[in-house]
Symmetry: C2
Subunit: 119 residues, 2 copies
Amino acid sequence: MRRKPGTLLPLETTILETALDLRGCGEEEFHGFAIAKEIAAHSEARTLTAHGTLYKALARMETAGLLASRWEDPAVGAEQGRPRRRLYHITGLGGQALATASTTRSSSQVYDHRGLVAS
Amino acid sequence: MRRKPGTLLPLETTILETALDLRGCGEEEFHGFAIAKEIAAHSEARTLTAHGTLYKALARMETAGLLASRWEDPAVGAEQGRPRRRLYHITGLGGQALATASTTRSSSQVYDHRGLVAS
DNA sequence: CGAGTATAGGCAGATATCTTCCTATAAGTC
DNA sequence: GACTTATAGGAAGATATCTGCCTATACTCG
């Protein structure tokens, strides 16, 4: 589907909300797989099939400036016996976009550097 | 199945032979996934289902002293955008066991620190 | 030789991320 | 309002390793 720039899609809203949920546990950063598990746990039935959709959404959101990421030190993952993670955090723009989408309960609101803009 | 100590199972023989094949390309070390791909490519039909069988065989062979392993530097895998590998090499005992199994074309030969022993 | 036991092998899935291919649909254009 | 087009989402799989569960069977012992 074609996309109106500056819009938050439902999945993107879910990702941001879920990220805040996870962040509640103390850590500022989150990784894709944790989001996938959380989403799957809450809304049983959404598998995000093979997680491809989620990772594409995350990459998209980073490009859009809603998220920023860094690679975890590979040694950390190695010590814990798991693959390395890409650690995301929500940017100011991302927080703004979520706030807008949450208060209006509509996913077709528009955000930009000034905040909410007419849709 | 119960196991007679000092015996090479068919899969173990295959692993050692495949490792030598791969080693022909220059590197002394090999990793499990490469073995799995090679085995799958040669004997089409053997998937080694989810590779569980293969990894268990590798661990077993290391315990038995036929193989030795080390973890690849996590940074190397990270740079190449893939999970880290466990790098194996064939020990003297492993080479001996393979030689024995290969020449006799039987997998029920027995090896130990002295080499071939009566089966 | 029959009974019991340990273990090999198959199946499934967790841990993480990414890619490619295809389809469905929202947005823009006229 | 119909047509075109870009893109989101789903399906599948590559890259690596490991664990647990269950079954089949080779081996051992009486």
